[in-house]
């Protein structure tokens, strides 16, 4: 197991290098330059100044030198500074990370909390009225665009009923509240975003759970269990569910990089200062250092997520063993 782990970890290094190399060149060779340096057509800013700014950012050097410099800095965990505001890329990311992580972990939690029971129930009661109704409802939510649900939710809960604040994650007087007040304030702001961000996922995951459960329920060992005279509860929860949960391990593993990803539309609507908007704007502005930092972050997390999924498979599924 340890050798396997070591092998996998070592394999990450060339993979990561390849990813950064390709990304760097794709981004820099794509048309368009860092927008901050072009100053968005401001006639007050002369050509000489733009050239000087480009030089100060080191963008006049050959591409390969630029990549080499970037790589050398990255190996020392220095992701450089953002073009435009000159702040450390790492500061900008760390500032946004807690919000995105909180929302994503919370929605993941609610996702599993609701999706698994709904899926199981729908599978056990397959082709009954309950199944049909949940199918209909979950598909409705699955199909509804997030921004539309968000706007409807705001209109109802924030404007008509005045229960919740509309946007942002803190109130204007947040800094003047007690710690308890701050907690309440944060939670009130997070309710709607968390619900909206998990609702589409619940729909999807519960369908997944249902089919996985249906498959498990049609397996020969379920007949065996039933014929042994086990209670229906034991059959469903002990025999079928445990097997039906296996594919979910993959899903958990794959959602690890997603924990850091934010949705740009969702964050914009709720005005959440998250990672999604940071990187979207970085891409639009051609803020190379920031984009590259994201590439590294997401690549690392994706690889780690896969690794964790593979390892936990071995752990939960006795049929899979990684040989020495």
């Amino acid at each position: 197991m340890i050798t396997y782990l070591a092998k996998r970890l070592i394999a990450i290094i060339p993979l990561l290098l390849g990813i950064t190399l390709i990304s760097f060149f794709v981004i820099r060779l794509a048309p368009g330059k860092p927008v901050m340096l072009q100053q968005s057509l401001n006639p007050k800013i002369s050509l000489e100044e733009i050239k000087r700014l480009e030089k100060l950012e080191g963008l006049d050097k050959p591409l390969f030198t630029q990549y080499k410099n970037w790589l050398w800095n990255m190996l020392r965990f220095n992701f450089g500074r953002s073009i435009g505001d000159g702040r450390l890329v790492i500061d900008k990311i760390m500032e946004r990370l807690p919000v995105t992580l909180t929302i994503n972990i919370l929605s993941l939690f609610f996702l599993f909390l609701f999706a698994i029971p709904i899926g199981v129930k729908a599978a056990v009661k397959a082709n009954t009225a309950f199944d049909h109704i949940t199918t209909l409802v979950t598909f409705l939510f699955f199909a509804a665009p997030t921004f539309w649900l968000a706007l409807l939710g705001m209109q109802l809960f924030c404007i008509q009923l005045k229960w919740l604040p509309i946007s942002g994650i803190t109130s204007l007087d947040f800094e003047y509240l007690s710690w308890w007040g701050k907690l309440v304030d944060l939670s009130r702001h997070l309710i709607l975003p968390v619900i909206v961000s998990s609702i589409g996922g619940i729909a999807g995951l519960s369908r997944y759970m249902r089919s996985s459960m249906l498959e498990a329920l049609s397996q020969p060992y379920i007949y065996t269990a039933r014929s042994k005279g086990l209670s229906e509860k034991q059959v469903v929860y002990k025999h079928a569910l445990r097997n039906a949960l296996l594919p979910l391990v993959t899903i958990v593993g794959l959602s690890i990089p997603g924990l850091l990803g934010g949705s740009i539309i969702f964050e914009s609507i709720f005005s959440i200062p998250g990672i999604g908007r940071l990187f979207y704007e970085a891409a639009m502005m051609r803020d190379i250092n920031l984009i590259m930092a994201e590439v590294v972050l997401v690549a690392l997390l994706t690889m780690m997520g896969n690794l964790i999924a593979d390892i936990s498979y071995a752990y939960v599924d006795p049929r899979i063993r990684y040989k020495k």
């Binding site: 368009g32 927008v35 800013i45 505001d85 946004r96 964050e267 908007r277």
Partner: protein, 537 residues
């Protein structure tokens, strides 16, 4: 004794006259409350000499002062300067500075700060985009603490307005690297509001500066809220979560025409400092003939564009100046919408529909061109589609191509790879247009990207920035306006109105040619209408 009391009473009543009468005008305004404004984008930096985006400039404008500023009628007035003298035909400007000004940390402001700011502006290592105007300075000399003498290499009229640049505190920034200094997120200025806190992509909070040299702002706080979605901003207005926000024409006319909005908000409609134009690449053979450009101008109905795209909330323009300013030539008569005249001019220029397919030809070439515009501007795209139809009526085929902003700039505009482009310019308060129209400004990346060349305009542009007499400058710019409209290097289209709401509890908000923010420190809210509690410093 009675006499003493009597005279005391008289005195008291005199005192009352002296003190209570002005009170009605200004002194009884209540302090307190906060103004919450909504912005789509967050500021990038609060260092004013590095900031070039709208959000940053807006916040910096409340924290810092320049030596001069524009008053409500768009005339330059003293700000940190007490007065100024222009000598030697404009080669020398001497600023006399105000003496009672302190930085937000209590340190006195002086000429050393002006010199320091100037040195940073021309320092090639500082990532400021504003060095251009200051590289014309031959020398800057601090004569004494409150007198600064600036000598220019040649007379340059916009020089004075360039000193509207915010002044930085030397005592804090000396020896620091401005590009990476923490000052950019924790600024100290001289302005009416002091920086309090900045939560990225959430808000920037400013508090009143009690020692501001004009007077303490009546509002306790000014909060910029970043709300990155336009529909969310509108919902926040409906919940009174923001006090001021811009509106789209549809929101202005229809969605805010409700009892709620009439009760809680005041709507404003002002001329905006931007205009939209269609520019031709003048090195393209099709557009080389002036008659063709005039014909296209006759073929497009600007009023129709304003009516359809902005629901009538805009103004057709004929030249590149702010319509409310002295530089705009109101004697230039707009060419009417006249497709027949357009066809006639095109015919004169040699364009005929020989094969009767509805498209004009000349020497075997069909009149087909591509208009490019930037992605993310719905209004421009709509306008383009309307123009497309009007041009088709006179036998001209215009294709439309929408390109992402960064690529649009670097691959099309800067490299001049376009036939026609739909874009907008903002209109600075200073009418000097040299960089856009002078024939020397046509290198890659410069702003005369259409390749316009007219000797008279070149001469007038040079004169306009060398002569300090406003009447003579007016003559220059009016003539430029006239020539440009006749030659039609751009098809000047419209200046959309700037539309916004402000919460009606705010008093003293009164629009002027410059806009509304000029008297922000006088805005106030009566005690019983205040929405945000006072916060102890």
């Amino acid at each position: 004794m009675a006499r003493i009391i009597k005279s005391f009473l008289i005195e008291l009543s005199l005192v009352a006259i002296v003190f209570f009468i002005p009170c009605k005008a200004s002194l009884c305004q209540d302090y307190g409350d906060a103004l919450v404004s909504a912005s789509i984008a967050d500021a990038r930096t609060l260092n004013p000499i590095l900031a070039s985006d709208t959000a940053s400039s807006e916040a910096c404008g409340l924290i810092f002062n320049g030596l001069v500023k524009y008053d409500k009628d768009i005339n330059l007035t003293p700000d940190l300067a007490q007065s100024w003298e222009i000598k030697d035909d404009g080669l020398v400007i001497i600023f006399h500075l105000k003496k009672n000004v302190r930085w937000h940390d209590g340190y006195p402001f002086s000429g050393a700060d002006v010199a320091f700011t100037y040195q940073k502006l021309i320092d090639p290592k500082v990532k400021t985009p504003y060095s251009g105007d200051f590289e014309r300075v031959r020398s800057l000399e601090v004569i004494d603490d409150y007198t600064v003498k600036v000598v220019y290499k040649e007379p340059f009229v916009p020089a004075l307005s360039s000193w509207g640049m915010s002044i930085l505190p030397k005592h804090i920034l000396e020896g620091q690297d401005l590009n990476t200094s923490a000052f950019s997120r924790n600024p100290v200025g001289t302005g009416p509001f002091k920086f309090k806190r900045w939560r990225s992509q959430e808000k920037i909070e400013l508090v009143a500066n009690p020692d501001y040299f004009e007077h303490r702002p009546n509002l306790d706080r000014y909060i910029f809220r970043v709300i990155s979605d336009e529909s969310t901003i509108f919902l926040e207005l409906e919940a009174q979560g923001v006090d001021s926000a811009g509106l789209s024409p549809l929101q202005y006319l229809r969605q805010t025409d409700t009892r709620f909005f009439k009760q809680y908000y005041r709507k404003f409609k002002l001329s905006s400092f931007v205009y939209t134009y269609l520019a031709y690449n003048l090195s393209d053979r099709k557009f080389a003939d002036k008659r063709v450009r005039q014909a296209l101008n006759y073929a497009v109905d600007k009023e129709e564009l304003i009516k359809m795209v902005f629901l009538g909330l805009g103004e057709a323009i004929t030249g590149p100046f702010y319509p409310e300013s002295w530089a705009y030539n109101h004697n230039v008569k707009p060419m009417p919408f006249d497709p027949d005249k357009a066809s006639q001019l095109l015919k004169e220029a040699g364009w005929n529909d020989v094969d009767k397919d509805g498209v004009l030809e000349k020497e075997g070439e069909k009149f087909v061109f591509t208009l490019i515009t930037n992605q993310g501007n719905e209004e421009r795209l709509n306008a383009a589609q309307i123009m497309q139809r009007r041009l088709k009526d006179v036998g001209v085929v215009m294709k439309i191509k929408v390109v992402e902003w960064s690529v649009f700039l670097s691959e099309y505009i800067n490299k001049r790879k376009f036939e026609a482009v739909l874009l907008g310019w903002s209109l600075p308060r200073e009418p000097d247009n040299y960089d856009i129209w002078h024939s020397s400004k046509t290198r890659e990346g410069e702003f005369n990207f259409i390749g316009y060349r007219n000797e008279e305009v070149d001469k007038l542009l040079t004169e306009g920035r060398r002569v300090f007499d406003q009447a003579r400058r007016k003559a220059c710019y009016n003539r430029i306006h006239e020539i440009l409209y006749d030659e039609q290097p751009y098809m000047f289209l419209y200046a959309p109105d700037s539309l916004f709401v402000i919460h009606s509890r705010l008093r003293e908000v009164s629009p002027a040619p410059i806009g509304i923010g000029y008297n922000m420190i006088d805005w106030w809210v009566p005690k019983k209408e205040q929405r945000y509690s006072r916060i102890a410093e």
